[in-house]
């Protein structure tokens, strides 16, 4: 029985080769997209899942009036550990993002994320050095491990992980460290690192003001987290008061501590934007939608071909087949097609994966032994077989033999409505993506062409670890660099305008206190970045006071204070230092387009900010490579403090990374629009083929009655056009709301344009006419005699 059904299925599929190919191909492409999305979903939700304490680990964060942060101070964890019995262990760590060179005789590696953590944190995160995790005996002992890869680069011959001595920082510093061995650095973890330092206790002697640490707690299974959070918050508040905070101050009242589970840290941390989560959700919805659309094609086509199979159903029923046997037969047929699609889908996914990995900065692979796909794929297969197959199987197996065997079988009106409805649904989704893509394109074009207020082009950022905190310390280096022909200007600052947040502090002007971002800069900072001055002047060597107490504000800061004549006013803040405002610059978008420009104060003398380390040069475009070569060869002499390794980046590339998320979105929408349009067209193509075939007689009769070809084309196109127009009408409000919401995530954005709506309507209508007319062509051109001769 089964083998016979299989044979019939294959013969049937073979006979309708085109439709079969459309069905299987469309589904395979959709499946490829879905498989990749599934893999990405598994990856993104799997951070730290390998940790046996996954569900019991929480990070302690703080709610501050303006923002939330995961940075806490070291004593907080200790107090909680001592007082709260539900907390099994407390791990504290500090992350250093400084790029530190580590050298051996053989090679040099650069650490970009070094983790400084206590033994308990290492245990909590299941960190396993190759020679075992040992507890540091004294508070001065420091167990330093490099990731396996880095270790191998430095000591290719040391297989046993025997302790070695390495150089830290530039050679001139002469700093060394004892390397205790190598450690597996799990990249699939929230605390991914490339080196760790395990100590007995971190932040020794640091009080409640030192909020530079992450405190993780591990609770007993089954703990009431809300109650625990309240307890933690109470302890935090009490300790803050002990540490001389004023309990009546507004800021204090608005501050609290919270707990955030480890499993949320990667995608939707409380102290974060959750944009990763949103992107993941959007992708998942997209993947499912595309798959559903492809399944709808299946359903549509299977029902469209129902008339062909109706006779078979009728005959089999009078031969004694039960309905379920027939349902099973049709389901099996669809299962076969889905199986082929799945295999094809895997192949397509394998082909697309490198591009996807590149776009999303991940490293997914299908062919890994413990891949979750092993159990996901069969589930997906069953899922699509059911969605695509159940309805047609029910419809087909439900035919009444008395009706279908009479020979003049007509499909019921109901299924016709259903097919139309499904087509409208497909087109609606396609229209949403086309409109979305066009609007995203407009916004990105706007972002690329809009004046950001400074010119990152031809600005080179040189990585440097040496501090140039005190004014004047940088002068010799500037002099050396400036002598190189082709260098226009040189400066140093404590942050670069690549979207990084500066520190914040309270400043007072005319008795009005406001929180401002403060940036420590040097002479020529504004000139190097080509920032326009609005009022007053930039820092100049001619004014001796500029290295002492001059400050420059941006427009946003002036607006925040509501100053009308800011030049010459005093501004007080940062260890009660008083500055004199000498200039106002035009706002420039250091943070990109999503966040508004921060009210910022710039000063050369900046005792409370991070030390100035970030060197920036403006170079003549035509002499770029020449200058970089000269710098490379002379760097050890120029920068005596950190001159071993000349490493640089172009500022425009760094700033361009701020657009990366949106460019990702654009790529995703591009792919989605192409896919949904493609799949909807496939569905339309096959459906039009069916409709035309079933109307061959009608067309012939009309031709004999004198209809022109054009009139017949119009006739066939009309129903499809109605559907496409309806789809457009349905999706416009949806697309409008979605794109408006998306645009609202930008501080600087375009007005919602109407052209994309018109364009997607035009595009879908045009594609529909082409697709349908191609199908109708053969029927229209055929000699009517052929169609009418045979009954």
């Amino acid at each position: 029985m089964f083998s016979l059904n299989l044979k019939i299925a294959l013969r049937n599929l073979w006979r309708n080769k085109v439709i079969t190919a459309i069905n299987i191909g469309g589904l395979a492409i959709a499946l490829a997209a879905f498989i990749i999305v599934t893999m990405y979903f598994t990856f993104e939700t799997g951070f730290d899942r390998a940790n046996p304490n996954y569900n019991e680990i929480y990070i302690i964060g703080r709610n501050l009036p303006d923002f939330k942060t995961n940075y806490t101070s070291p004593p907080l964890g200790k107090t909680i550990k001592a007082e709260v019995p539900e907390v099994v262990s407390v791990g504290t760590m500090k992350v250093s993002f400084f790029e530190i060179p580590v050298t051996s005789k053989n090679a040099v590696v650069f650490l970009s994320k070094c983790l400084y953590l206590d033994y308990e944190a290492a245990k909590m995160f299941n960190i396993k050095p190759s020679n075992g995790l040992v507890k540091p005996e004294s508070t001065t002992q420091n167990l330093f491990y490099l990731s396996n890869e880095n270790y191998k680069t430095l000591f290719p011959n040391n297989k046993n992980g025997v302790p070695e001595l390495v150089g830290l920082g530039s050679r001139s510093s002469g700093m060394t460290a004892k390397l205790s061995g190598s450690v597996y650095a799990d990249p699939h973890s929230n605390i991914a690192f490339d080196a760790i330092s395990v100590v007995k206790e971190v932040g020794l002697g640091e009080g409640y003001g030192y909020n530079n640490y992450n405190t993780y707690i591990q609770v007993k299974p089954g703990t009431d987290i809300e109650a625990l959070e309240a307890k933690v918050n109470a302890i935090y508040k009490r300790e803050m008061i002990k540490a001389d905070e004023d309990p009546n101050h507004e800021t204090f009242k608005a501050t609290s501590a919270f707990l955030d589970p480890l499993k949320n840290q990667h995608l939707k941390p409380k102290a974060g934007t959750g944009i990763g989560y949103k992107i993941l959700m959007a992708l998942s919805v997209l993947g499912i939608l595309i798959l559903v659309i492809a399944c709808i094609n299946f359903t549509n086509l299977s029902i469209a071909q129902a008339a062909k199979r109706a006779k078979e159903v009728g005959v089999k029923k009078v031969m004694g087949a039960y309905r379920f046997q027939l349902s099973l037969q049709f389901l099996t047929e669809i299962l076969i097609q889905c199986l082929v699609s799945t295999v094809l889908g895997l192949i397509i996914a394998e082909i697309i994966l490198p591009r996807f990995n590149n776009l999303f900065g991940v490293n997914l692979s299908i062919w890994t032994a413990n891949s979750a796909l092993l159990w996901q794929l069969p589930l997906i297969l069953i899922f699509i077989t059911l969605i695509a197959g159940v309805y047609p199987a029910m419809v087909l197996s439900g035919f009444k033999p008395a009706l279908v065997l009479k020979g003049n079988f007509q499909k019921s009106k109901q299924s016709f409505w259903l097919q139309n409805g499904l087509l409208v649904f497909q087109f609606s989704i396609a229209v949403i993506f086309i409109t979305g893509l066009l609007i995203i394109n407009s916004q990105l074009t706007y972002m690329r062409t809009q004046d950001v207020g400074f010119k990152p082009a031809q600005v080179v950022y040189i990585k440097n670890l040496a501090y140039f905190a005190s004014p004047g310390k940088f002068d010799p280096i500037r002099d050396r660099i400036s002598k190189i022909p082709g260098v226009k200007s040189v400066t140093v600052a404590n942050t670069i305008p690549d979207g990084s947040d500066g520190g914040k502090n309270s400043y007072t002007v005319d008795g009005k206190e406001q929180s401002l971002t403060f940036t420590g800069v040097d002479f020529d900072y504004f000139e190097t970045l080509d920032i326009k001055i609005k009022e007053g002047r930039t820092f100049s060597r001619e004014f001796k006071t500029d290295t002492v107490n001059s400050a420059i504000l941006n427009e946003a800061a002036v607006a925040k204070y509501g100053l009308t004549h800011p030049i010459g006013k005093s501004i007080k803040g940062c260890q009660n230092k008083t500055y004199k405002i000498v200039g106002i610059i035009k706002d420039f978008k250091t943070l990109g387009f999503e966040k508004p420009v921060e009210p910022t104060i710039y000063s050369i003398n900046d005792p409370c900010g991070n030390p100035k380390t970030e060197i920036m040069l403006k170079i003549e475009g035509s002499r770029m490579s020449e200058v970089l070569n000269t710098l490379k060869s002379q760097w050890p002499e120029i920068n005596r403090l950190d001159g071993d390794n000349f490493r640089y980046q172009f500022l425009d590339e760094m700033y361009g990374r701020l657009f990366k998320k949106q460019e990702q979105l654009q790529s995703v929408f591009f792919a989605a629009a192409m896919l949904t349009v493609f799949i909807a067209m496939l569905g339309l193509f096959a459906f039009a083929k069916y409709i035309t075939n079933s109307k061959i007689k009608e067309i012939a009769v009309r031709k004999i009655l004198g209809a022109s070809n054009l009139q017949i084309f119009k006739l066939i196109n009309r129903t499809f056009l109605v559907m496409v127009v309806m789809a457009n009408i349905i999706s416009f409000p949806l697309a409008y709301i979605l794109t408006k919401k998306w645009l609202e995530t930008f501080a600087y954005r375009i007005d919602l344009p109407l052209l994309p709506f018109a364009m997607s309507a035009g595009l879908t209508i045009l594609l529909t006419i082409i697709t349908v007319s191609l199908q109708a062509n053969s029927a229209v051109k055929a000699n009517p005699v052929g169609a009418l001769k045979y009954e």
Binding site: L4, I8, E312, K317, M319, G320, Y322, L405
Partner: protein, 226 residues
């Protein structure tokens, strides 16, 4: 074998009843060869469909082999199809994707006849109808008469006690039609299979032993032949 009592069939359209069959009462015994005749639209096919349980009468009772089948569930009805009833159609209704052999085999698969038994029955039928050489051909490679032979072989495969044929020769040339009617006659006389056919042709009706004349849904005449 078949007992029809006051069978009525009508379609209600806007409150008006359009009668297809009115008060049809008749008995058909085992071994009879009955031809149902009448003008187009008289209700012949509907009567045959009701006898074949493909349609339900609106009113009246129907006993098949002594069992009331007017409201039979699907499972019971299918059991009857598998064991007692064979259908032959005007348009043959062979399954296009199956070869001659597979078409004949299909009902046996539903009846769950064992492999060896199945092979021997099919071989037997192919032999009897001189179709051995054509067993691997598909329906569209056969002439109409040959297709109808396969249709009959398929109906016979399950060894039914009754064959219901709706204009079995309607699409055939006269020589082929004669061949089919001879075959029916032989099946009726030699194998004792009850046959009920719907036909337009007086000539074809003469092959049987009883004719039911129907007009406007009413049995006008019930005559014995020969």
């Amino acid at each position: 074998m078949i007992q029809l009592n006051n069978i009525e069939k009508y379609y209600a359209n806007k409150g008006v009843k359009n009668y297809v069959l009115r008060l049809v009462t008749t008995t058909i015994n085992q071994g009879e060869f009955v031809s149902i005749m009448g003008p187009s639209g008289a209700g012949k096919s509907t009567l045959l469909n009701i006898i074949g349980m493909l349609e339900e009468p609106t009113y009246g009772s129907y006993e098949f082999l002594g069992e009331d089948v007017t409201a039979l569930n699907e499972r019971k009805r299918i059991e009857l199809y598998r064991n007692h009833i064979g259908f032959v159609f005007q348009a043959y209704h062979l399954i296009d994707e199956m070869t001659v052999y597979e078409n004949i085999e299909a009902p046996l698969l539903y009846k769950k006849v064992g492999g060896a038994e199945r092979a021997s029955r099919i071989a037997d039928l192919l032999d009897r109808f001189n179709m051995v050489a054509k067993k691997d051909l598909f329906p569209n490679q056969l002439s109409g008469g040959q297709q109808q032979l396969v249709g009959i072989a398929r109906a016979l495969a399950a060894q039914p006690s009754i064959i219901l044929a709706d204009e079995p020769t309607g699409n055939l040339q006269s020589a082929q039609a004669e061949e089919i009617m001879e075959l029916f006659k032989k099946l009726n006389q030699e194998d004792g299979i009850t046959i009920i056919q719907v036909t337009h042709s007086e000539k074809n009706a003469q092959y049987g032993n009883r004719i039911l004349h129907i007009a406007d849904g009413v049995v006008k005449e019930d005559v014995l032949v020969g």
